[in-house]
């Protein structure tokens, strides 16, 4: 009986001490956790702004991660400002904010609907480097970091040749409006790459092209219009993740899965899911993290007066159901 009592006392004492210690640990970590990571307390040398469209796609998240990594490696901090075209605070307005805040450099991801030319020129006039990512402004900016549009078009063309060949009747969904000269320049390069690849299938032809507005729903609208107007269309080439999702949804709704080959863009989870199901034949994936990283490195180099390349190609990867299965959890 005595031994049982002593054992119970020891057990309850251990439980009490253990629970108390664990509770104090939780409390301390909860309190210290509010202070944020230690790096947040350290001042850095450079302060950059990244002006990007408001989006939380895989490409956007990868881009931010790459920028953060590069900032940490470069004794810099990147402050991200997101905009929506047409809003009170659009991309140009944020560029103005960055200039008033006396930033050390701006990473700009241009989007249709906003004219950044003046803002970029104003920054350059103040000696502030501007690096564009995702889409190029061609002129004004310090350098462009991203995918080679010609290479992207060429890869799409190769897939079409291999899968469809001369029978290919191709419809293009081009993201954003193309009235702006800079955008046209990008699309031209994409089309040039595509055409170059299609030389191996002389019968293949681009039969239609549609412009999609920004917004998750507009990709489906454009695809539906393309297919409706072109019954013989058997290939759709997309130039954004949202367009890919919309096109795939349209083909499923029209019960034409397999009959229409979709060449997607980016590696959003929904896109990869369609690739895995075979709805999307292949998707062209940009290396977002590398793009973000190289953008910061380029702007740091420019800030320090070092020579910076006009175009930094971060490459493109073709993801098909075959190589998707080999990747961990289906992501790249």
């Amino acid at each position: 009986m005595k031994r049982v009592l002593i054992a119970l006392i020891a057990l309850s004492a251990v439980v009490f001490v253990g629970v108390t210690t664990y509770s104090v640990f939780l409390l301390v970590t909860a309190t210290s956790g509010q202070k944020g990571p230690a790096r947040a307390e350290t001042a850095v040398r450079l302060h950059f702004f990244a002006v990007m469209p408001h989006a939380d796609g895989r490409y956007d998240l990868g881009l931010r991660k790459g920028m953060d990594n590069a900032a940490a490696d470069s004794d810099a901090a990147v402050e991200v400002l997101t905009y929506r075209p047409g809003d009170q605070y659009d991309g140009a307005w944020f560029m103005d904010l960055a200039l008033r805040a006396k930033t050390d450099g701006i990473i700009l991801m241009p989007q249709e609907g906003t004219d950044f030319s003046k803002a970029v020129d104003a920054a350059r006039a103040k000696g502030i480097p501007v690096v564009t990512v995702g889409r190029d402004l061609v002129h004004h900016r310090t350098c462009f970091v991203g995918t080679n549009s010609f290479q992207a078009g060429y890869e799409a063309g190769r897939i079409i040749v291999r899968r469809v060949g001369d029978r290919a009747r191709i419809g293009l969904i081009i993201a954003g409006e193309t009235e702006k000269p800079d955008q046209q320049w990008n699309q031209n390069f994409t089309l040039a790459g595509l055409s170059n690849a299609l030389k191996e299938a002389p019968g293949a032809r681009v039969v239609a092209a549609g412009l999609s507005r920004d917004g998750i729903l507009f990709g489906e609208e454009t695809a539906d219009e393309l297919v409706g107007k072109n019954p013989g269309l058997n290939v759709i080439v997309c130039t954004s993740g949202k367009d890919t999702i919309g096109a795939a949804q349209t083909i499923i709704d029209l019960n034409r899965v397999g009959a229409v080959t979709i060449i997607g863009y980016d590696d959003d989870p929904e896109v990869l899911a369609f690739v895995r199901k075979g709805v999307v034949s292949a998707t062209l994936v940009r290396n977002a993290e590398k793009t973000g990283y190289e953008a910061v490195r380029a702007i740091v180099a420019a800030r320090e007066g070092k020579p910076v390349s006009d175009f930094i190609d971060t490459g493109i990867t073709v993801v098909t159901p075959g190589n998707l299965a080999g990747t961990r959890d289906g992501s790249l």
């Binding site: 119970l8 629970v19 664990y22 900032a71 008033r100």
Partner: protein
């Protein structure tokens, strides 16, 4: 080194402190928890108030800037300066360096843009005072844009702070759920711990007291030998137990002394009883003797007359017979409590043997042999005659002739050994054992078994007569010797059927001067 406190007072204090400590830990923890939550709410409130104050000061700065630029009144300028300073004061505590933290960067932006705004506003006012209209308008437009950026930044920082505080608060709330479960577990384990401690502690105090109570009950039952198990702790209970053990030992010694005294008294009483018994035997013997002394003077005068008559008639044998008879009777008339010398006893025995030889002239021969110096040893009187009488009346009663009775007195290892032997019918071992058996009642009995023949009948009748006259037999002799000397092994009997009997008396050699002791 012992972990437990020694005294009960220290135990009570230490256990109470332990329980208080446990409860204090829980209370302190709960208080700190509540305090931490309160601090989060306070921080949220302060950041909100600071953002609102900044927003307000910026609006008033803009308002009085516009008012001054449009009206140019000193009141508006004073108010502008007032709110400009307040806005500058609002910016003062904010972070001014670039850090990889959203709030820090926002604060830095706020400071840079805010400082730029105030410079632009000051420039506009200066231009207004200098009536430089294009410049003040341009400066005002810039300040207006900067104010828009500032409003955005204030709203953003307020939102970020709010979200951060909210996230922290929600995170804390989520942790609090776990903490509440942990606190419940803490309280439960603390309650179990304290209850168990109280149980053990109360047992530690109560058990020795209960053992003491049991020990007291054992002592009350008369058991002084069980040692009280005292816990090795050096507390008040142990001290009390030690005192109790000392008391137990004292009582045990006292009771042992009482037992010893009682034993001594018991032995004394037994000795007294034996003395009384001996006196009783002597009184009985004396009474019997007195009863036989009907008129000794008459008897001895008559005996003397008979002796004189025998002398006158020249009857020599009759005279000798009467003289031996008279001498023997005189010896037997002595008080039995008196001692005699062995020589006196043997002289009286000579007279008795003479009488027997006259009565049984050819049947029995008697021999007496004694060592030199044995005649002065003092012995109880009349102890040999009954033995000779026993040999004649019982041992040799069946022999018509050839009967022999021998009496020898020898020195034997500091004692005197007197043997009375015969070659008569002897006794069985049972009879010998019965005679030598130590019995509380020492009633006189006949010593040999009854015989049916006429000779034996005559002997028994004579024995009965002798018993009535003297009341002394072998049994009586044994009892008297044992009582007289206080030892049991003073008489031995060797006897075989049809071969004879030897009765040996082992008498301490008390001489005349030692008799008194």
């Amino acid at each position: 080194m012992r972990m437990w406190p020694k005294t009960i007072r220290r135990k009570i204090v230490s256990y109470s402190l332990l329980i208080i400590l446990i409860m204090s830990v829980i209370t302190a923890y709960a208080t700190f928890n509540a305090r931490s939550m309160s601090r989060d709410v306070d921080e949220l409130y302060r950041s909100t108030v600071a953002s609102q104050a900044m927003q307000s000061d910026l609006e008033f700065t803009e308002k009085y800037l516009v008012e001054y630029l449009s009206t140019k009144t000193s009141d508006s300028l004073r108010e502008f300066i007032k709110y400009e300073n307040r806005f500058r004061a609002d910016l003062a505590p904010l972070n001014r360096t670039a850090k990889p933290d959203e709030t820090a960067l926002l604060e830095k932006n706020l400071v840079v843009v805010g400082t730029g705004y105030l410079e632009e506003a000051d420039a506009a006012i200066s231009a207004k005072r200098g009536r430089n209209i294009p410049v003040y308008i341009a400066a005002y437009e810039e300040s207006d844009k900067s104010a828009a950026v500032l409003r955005y930044l204030i709203g953003r920082i307020s939102s970020v702070r709010f979200n951060q505080s909210l996230a922290a608060y929600e995170d804390f709330n989520a942790r609090t759920e776990a903490l509440i479960r942990l606190v419940t577990l803490m309280i439960a384990s603390a309650v179990i711990l304290t209850v168990l401690i109280v149980i053990v502690y109360s047992r530690r105090i109560a058990d020795p007291i209960i053992r003491l109570a049991h020990a007291a009950n054992e002592i009350a039952r008369g058991n002084f030998d069980d040692r009280i198990a005292v816990r090795s702790a050096d507390d008040e209970i142990a001290t009390m137990a030690e005192a109790f053990i000392t008391m137990q030992e004292s009582i045990r010694r006292y009771v042992a002394e009482l037992h010893e005294k009682a034993e001594v008294e018991k032995n004394l009483m037994e000795e007294r009883f034996q003395m009384l018994h001996m006196k009783n035997l002597l009184k009985n013997a004396e009474l019997d003797a007195l009863q036989s002394q009907i008129n000794p003077h008459f008897l001895f005068n008559t005996m003397n007359a008979a002796i004189q008559l025998a002398v006158v008639e020249d009857a020599e044998r009759t005279r000798l017979f009467l003289e031996h008879l008279s001498a023997f009777l005189r010896f037997t008339m002595r008080p039995l409590s008196n001692t005699v010398t062995l020589g006196e006893e043997l002289t009286a025995l000579d007279s008795y043997i003479y009488l027997l030889k006259i009565r049984f002239p050819d049947r029995i021969s008697f021999t007496i042999d004694r060592d030199e110096g044995t005649e002065t040893v003092r012995i109880p009187s009349l102890i040999l005659q009954p033995l000779v009488e026993n040999s004649v009346l019982h041992g040799l009663s069946e022999r018509e002739s050839g009967g022999e009775v021998g009496i020898t007195a020898r020195r034997d290892d500091g004692r005197i050994r007197v043997d009375v032997s015969d070659n008569g019918s002897g006794m069985s071992a049972d009879q010998v054992a019965e005679l030598l058996r130590v019995r509380p009642e020492r009633a006189e009995q006949t010593d040999h078994g009854a015989a049916a023949d006429p000779m034996e009948t005559a002997v028994r009748e004579e024995q009965a007569d002798v018993g009535r006259i003297h009341g002394i037999g072998l049994r009586n002799v044994i009892d008297r010797l044992r009582l007289f000397y206080g030892i049991e092994d003073c008489v031995r009997i060797q006897s075989r059927r049809n071969e004879g009997t030897v009765v040996s008396l082992y008498l301490p050699a008390f001489h005349k001067r030692e008799e008194a002791s």
